[in-house]
Subunit: 124 residues, 2 copies
């Protein structure tokens, strides 16, 4: 993922209402929740909800699936995962990473030896 996509995703989540929607979907699981239910749970005007759902869909963080008159929205876990990976990618130069970040600090493809890491310090 490059920076433009990542910042677009983060901006989409950087709004209390959209974050609440996304979180609800993340916690709801892959089956998703239909728009009307989200409306009720979060007490939003339909037009407002629709605006935010469209935004989250456009950036790829959620997907809608039509089922009769309902549209079920679900979090796109792969997109979320890519976003988390981007944030923690190559983080903190092997220093004191904390629990969540530590888990993803050095993805296999980019792992380097301590020696190699050493030799690149202060360069560029």
């Amino acid at each position: 993922m490059e920076i433009k996509a990542a910042s677009t995703n983060l901006a989409a989540l950087g709004h209390a209402t959209r974050l609440a929607i996304f979180r609800l979907l993340v916690q709801a699981g892959p089956e998703g929740v239909n728009a009307g239910l989200i409306c009720d749970k979060l007490k939003l005007a339909p037009a407002t909800l629709s605006f935010h759902l469209a935004h989250l869909s456009r950036v790829g963080l959620i997907r809608g699936r039509q089922d009769g008159r309902f549209i079920f929205y679900a979090a796109d876990y792969a997109a979320m995962d890519a976003l988390l990976a981007f944030l923690t990618d190559n983080c903190c130069q092997g220093a004191q990473c904390l629990p969540k970040t530590a888990a993803t600090a050095a993805p296999p493809k980019r792992r380097r030896t301590a020696a190699a890491r050493q030799s690149r310090q202060r360069s560029e």
Copy 2:
């Protein structure tokens, strides 16, 4: 972390320039980088950089430490960690979480047995 703080943090990262700054600091490690150097690396007008550094500081994602005429900015790894935890908190009801998300899906304090999870489905 509650939703307001989380969305504020995410909004701060939801801008290509600020995300680039944050990422640079995350990868630079705890010692940080001084403002002028960030300016050079990212080719930003000083006033623009200052605006974004202030924004990131205000929400708590980075900290500045004065050292002579320089101010070194460093990522606040704890804040970043709290943010990642918020996003993945109680995610996806035990379903098909992916690599990064899976690592943090069920923090010890909130872990539940499969049976307990089962009995709560479709309720609320």
